[in-house]
């Protein structure tokens, strides 16, 4: 394995080196670095600027010597003396790279996680219900999303999710027609999703349509959109429901060793909800991280202590309860903050920037500000990835389901859930891991358009500005990072292969 990894690394290094030569050369011939100044009128100041630019870009030196200089500096990164050169304005590229990479990661990480979860989930569901109405509709939507140009999705989202939402939230209300239409559409969606017999379809349509039809005016009456509220009662009900679902899908309600830790966890959630109220009203990131650790550690201990031979199920049920509770507690705090946030930022969803300039608020208000700014670009990036992940997952799952060991597993009498999750899904994950790994590398570089449209200054902007100025240093920094990430994730996917698929372990 080690020699395999080393060989892979060696080849990757050569590929990176060749790519860097090529990109450097292409960047230097991509345009005239002084074009912008040549057409400035004959101000003596412009001549000084041109001279400064010539010095900054070292234009009097042939490109390959400049490349070697750059390579020397970049090679220093190996022993911790990075020098990625300076851009046209004489700023060190390394400094810019740091903040650009942070900005892009913030943008990309969430969207990749969302896309993975949703895409794989949808893919598995469509594969299980192959050739159902649900499958056809998801396929249709996936292809529509897949073929949408990113900038266009971004413009549409800004129009509807930002501008129109902001206009609406100032005075939220629904016309009866909107309520009826939404109820029917959501009813239809759920009906198609649930599938089954005609009776079941009509029932699911009816229930959803009625609930939505009642909820929309009710929430408006509650002024929920401006003053969202949840309160402990809702949290208690949801937490119990999640616990019940966890029990029902594992060992049923009769097993004390499982329902007891789940119930204790639910009680703890409510206690912590009240006890931590003041602390969480003005928290910091450390408190939140500590909370997350506790929300995992406590149910784990409870399950381990009380679970006996049902230990894994007990831990699972208890953890799903506490994690739901923790999530809802945070949502409740955000709900409470929302009216104050709206007062600070009357148009909550902005179309540009990674945060509102000069925004001053408490922790949750700042959290909401960053969140609302992150929302649209994340959705844009996620939407396209979801489409492709769901297709790949579906194909992989269908492929696996035709295998002999699936028939063996079913004929052994294993429950369908075990067959799908253990035998089918795990094997189907192998090709998906490769795609996700490569996609992550691509998304870091591919956020160029999204960053530009939403006014984020990340890796894409670094690359684009560098290219526009015929300035190799930032372009090379971009190539170095995206190329490095691609190599790294390629390697990582190989390692994960070995973890998922015992056959590959050497």
């Amino acid at each position: 394995m080690l020699s395999f990894i080393l060989r892979r690394l060696g080849i990757s290094a050569i590929v990176l080196l060749l790519a860097s030569v090529l990109v450097y050369f292409l960047t230097t011939i991509s345009g005239d670095p002084l074009a912008g100044m040549r057409e400035q009128a004959n101000d003596p100041k412009v001549a000084a600027q041109m001279q400064a630019r010539i010095v900054a870009l070292d234009l009097d030196t042939p490109w390959f010597i400049r490349y070697l200089k750059w390579l020397g500096g970049a090679a220093g990164c190996v022993w911790g003396q990075c020098n990625l050169g300076t851009d046209v304005n004489g700023n060190a590229v390394l400094d810019q790279l740091g903040s650009a990479a942070a900005s892009t990661l913030r943008l990309v990480l969430l969207s990749v996680v969302i896309a993975c979860i949703v895409g794989i989930l949808v893919g598995v569901l469509t594969a299980i219900r192959q050739y159902s109405d649900f499958d056809y509709i998801v396929t249709f939507i996936a292809f529509v999303l897949f073929s949408l140009p990113v900038f266009w999705v971004a413009v549409l989202l800004k129009e509807y999710a930002a501008i129109n939402y902001n206009n609406w939230i100032a005075n939220p209300s629904f016309t009866p027609a909107q309520v009826v239409l939404t109820a029917i559409i959501l009813g239809l969606i759920v009906m198609l999703f649930m599938g089954g017999s005609w009776k079941r379809r009509v029932l699911s349509f009816g229930v959803v349509a009625v609930v939505v039809g009642v909820a929309m005016p009710y929430f408006t009456w509650l002024r929920f959109w401006q003053y969202p509220q949840m309160g402990p009662a809702v949290i208690a009900v949801v937490v119990l429901a999640v616990g019940a679902f966890a029990l029902q899908t594992t060992v049923g309600f009769k097993e004390r060793r499982v329902w007891l830790p789940a119930l204790i966890s639910a009680a703890l959630v409510m206690v912590v909800y009240y006890a931590s109220w003041n602390l969480l009203s003005e928290p910091n990131w450390w408190i939140l991280i500590l909370g997350l650790v506790l929300a995992i550690a406590v149910p784990w201990l409870l399950g381990a202590w009380l679970g006996g031979r049902y230990r894994p199920q007990a831990i699972g049920a208890a953890a799903s309860v506490t994690l739901t509770g923790a999530f809802l507690t945070i949502v409740d705090h955000l709900f409470v903050t929302w009216p104050g946030f709206m007062a600070l930022k009357p148009r909550p969803i902005s179309t540009i920037g990674s945060n509102t300039p000069n925004f001053t608020g408490n922790f949750w208000e700042t959290f909401l500000d960053n969140g609302t700014q992150l929302l649209l670009p994340t959705v844009v990036l996620a939407v396209v990835s979801i489409a492709s992940y769901s297709r790949y997952t579906r194909a992989a799952m269908i492929d696996v389901q035709g295998q002999d060991y699936m028939r063996t597993a079913r004929s052994k009498g294993l429950p369908e859930r075990t067959v799908i999750l253990r035998h089918a899904f795990r094997n189907a994950l192998i090709p998906i891991v490769t795609i996700v790994a490569m996609d992550f590398a691509a998304v870091i570089g591919g956020a160029v358009i999204t960053e530009q449209v939403f006014g984020w200054k990340g890796m894409g902007e670094l690359f684009q500005t560098g290219l526009k100025n015929v300035d190799p240093a930032p372009v090379m920094a971009f190539v170095l990072v995206t190329g490095g990430v691609a190599v790294l994730f390629n390697l990582l996917s190989d390692v994960i292969y070995a973890l998922i698929d015992p056959r590959i372990r050497v």
Binding site: I29, S30, G31, D32, P33, L34, A35, R38, E39, Q40, A41, N42, D43, P44, K45, A47, A48, Q49, Q51, A52, R53, A56, N89, G90, A92, Q96, S99, K158, I163, A170, N171, Y218, W221, L222, R223, Q226, Y227, P228, A233, V234, V237, L240, A241, A244, P339, A343, P346, R347, S350, T351, I352, G353, P357, N358, Q452, V453, F454, G455, K457, E461
Partner: protein, 611 residues
């Protein structure tokens, strides 16, 4: 099992309903009033007059409003406090620095130079030698309370010397984008260091003396950072002593600009304008707040924020009120999007001082070399009216064909040039017949009876590609075979332009408002005379423009130059580039300017009004 499931669902539903029913409507029932504009709005642009016809608005009683106006002029990052270094001298950074610096003159919306009496006055006391007496407003102070004095003028002057080199013998002590004032006026500002009056004596006559920078950075800050007294700094500057100035120069060049997002420390962040830098978020925005010590008219709003936004994202940002004023790339697409927003925005259109033209190559491999008739033939077939009609009018309905190289419509000189120098009957409209006659008579090499013309520009440039198509469609009928040889590196070092390996070059000059700039383009051997044009009469006349202090003589010489340029057919002007800006309907005093200053030229006067 089935029954159990249903009963479970019912129970869950009931519990959820109960939980929800425990809620009651949120908030108080009277909708809160949306933030109203406090402070009195000043006169709107419609009421207030521009000083001297094209200067800033005359808003005498302007009061600062409590509120924020957000503007974007592009996605380029702010360079730093000191925007006079070559690395930070760009229109984007200057738009911001103009608000915390001051000067004795500024450009009006038509490019006229207008005195800024808030800072002080300047008057010519002698023409020969040119001697100007400056008087600084007695109330003028920096934002830290230090009076603005002659010392500051000495710093502004003394830092403009490209030949004052540091100890390495290569880099200038002051890394200033402008490096010639010390050579032009060697004695510098003469007057009491702590006083408010000084005289500047130029070696040569200089009609553009008003454009010299004589007020920029605070001398007391530089002196303190260099560890010397203001008096010592001033005498070192007057002596231009590189050793004594080494520390001051090093601070001047790098001390203020610490990289993106890094504002200078409070004692260095000193303003002499209506606003002062308040915050800078890397890659996102720069905010300014009113300078509390500003002695002139008050700043318009309590916070002015420049956001760095890509042109393509501006319209929706304006619509979502993320921006209040925007200055996008002028494209048809942007205009259409803005027009679709109706009365919510004000679209501000007009000409700019950047002008498009076709210039001929008089050297190298040019087919036009030594063939004035062929040049005239080509100029006659260029469909200038059609280009303006199809490509420019949709962006600026008032656009017209430009008929002068040395002045713009609106200048006093333009009408004279058009009447006395421009052969209107020959070039006003396309004349294919006459053009064809000249082509046929020409001795230029022909293939299939056609003269090949290689026309180029720096690509990609969709508008110029369209222009070349229109030119080709017209000129091919006159016996030319127009070839588009544009490339990304057309005018780059080693490209066709520097090798004089082309016939015609389509490009634009960005007019600077200088009176003496034409000599760099049309005189023999000048670096911006790309086509290597040479004419003794033009050289003579342009020398006059550089050496006279008499505006009439200057005008006469320019008219004579134009006449010669039209006779020789140096090249042909086509149009002024259109400018598009937009502002929310609730922002007032936003005015178009033709100059490179851009829409923010009077940003300190912007205010909000009720929609």
């Amino acid at each position: 099992m089935r029954l159990k499931r249903i009963s479970l669902a019912v129970a869950a539903g009931a519990a959820a309903a109960l939980a929800l029913a425990s809620c009651s409507p949120g908030g108080n029932n009277t909708p809160s009033s949306s933030g109203s504009v406090s402070g009195s709005a000043s006169d709107s642009a419609a009421q207030a007059a521009q000083i001297d016809g094209s200067g800033k608005l005359d808003l005498k009683d302007i009061q600062t409003q409590d509120g924020e106006i957000k503007v974007s002029v592009g996605s380029t990052e702010f360079g730093g406090y000191n925007t006079l270094t070559p690395a930070t001298y760009d229109t984007y950074s200057s738009a911001i620095s103009a608000l915390y610096t001051t000067g004795f003159f500024y450009f009006g919306t038509d490019g006229k130079v207008i005195p800024n009496e808030t800072l002080g006055t300047a008057e010519v006391v002698s023409d020969s030698p040119l001697q100007v007496k400056y008087t600084i407003n007695p109330d003028a102070v920096w934002s830290d309370g230090t009076p603005i004095t002659v010392a500051d003028a000495v710093l502004a002057w003394g830092s403009q010397n490209a030949s004052l080199l540091g100890s390495d013998g290569k880099t200038p002590v002051f890394n200033n984008v402008s490096g010639d004032l010390v050579a032009l006026a060697p004695k510098g500002p003469e007057g009491d260091v702590n006083g408010k009056e000084f005289t500047l004596t130029y070696k040569e006559p200089n009609l553009d003396w008003k454009l010299q920078t004589l007020m920029a950075q605070p001398a007391h800050v530089v002196a303190k950072q260099a560890g010397m007294s203001v008096d010592d700094l001033v005498s070192a500057l007057r002596e231009q002593d590189a050793t004594k100035l080494a520390k001051a120069g090093a601070f001047w060049s790098t001390g203020w600009n610490k990289g993106a997002g890094q504002l200078p420390a409070d004692d260095l962040n000193v303003s002499s304008g209506p606003y002062i830098l308040d915050s800078w978020q890397k890659g996102q925005s720069v905010s300014l707040v009113p300078n509390p010590k500003y002695w002139g008219p008050k700043a318009g709003v309590s916070k002015l924020t420049f956001r760095f936004v890509d042109s393509g994202a501006m319209v929706q940002a304006l619509q979502n009120k993320d921006l209040d004023v925007m200055s996008p790339q002028p494209t048809l697409d942007t205009i259409k999007q803005l027009e679709a927003l109706g009365s919510a925005v004000k679209i501000i259109k007009g000409d700019t001082m950047t002008w498009e033209h076709v210039d001929f190559n008089f050297a190298g491999t040019s087919v036009f070399k030594d063939d004035a008739d062929l040049r005239k033939a080509f100029a006659m077939c260029i469909p200038r009216e059609q280009i303006v009609e199809q490509l420019i009018k949709p962006l600026n309905p008032d656009a017209k064909v430009l008929n002068s190289r040395v002045s713009f419509p609106g200048d006093d000189l333009y009408d004279r040039v058009v009447q006395e120098a421009y052969p209107a009957s020959t070039y006003d409209s396309v004349n294919l017949e006459e053009s064809k006659k000249l082509v046929d008579a020409s001795s230029a090499a022909k293939t299939n009876g056609k003269v090949t013309v290689r026309i180029g520009y720096n690509s990609p440039n969709p508008r110029r590609a369209n222009e070349v198509q229109l030119i080709k469609a017209s000129c091919d009928q006159a016996g030319f075979d127009v070839k588009d040889i544009s490339s990304e590196t057309f005018s780059a070092e080693g490209g066709p332009v520097t090798k004089n390996d082309y016939d015609a070059f389509l490009f634009a000059w960005a007019g600077s408002g200088q009176l003496t700039s034409d000599s760099n383009i049309y005189m023999t051997g000048q670096p911006q005379n790309f086509g290597k044009y040479s004419n003794a009469e033009v050289d003579k006349q342009l020398t006059i423009t550089k050496t006279t202090m008499d505006l009439t003589k200057h005008g006469d010489a320019l008219v004579a130059t134009e006449k010669q340029l039209w006779d020789d057919m140096f090249g042909i002007p086509i149009f002024q580039h259109p400018g598009i800006d937009a502002a929310g309907a609730d922002v007032t005093n936003v005015i178009h300017t033709q100059t490179q200053d851009g829409i923010t030229w009077n940003a300190e006067q912007w205010q909000r009004v009720a929609e």
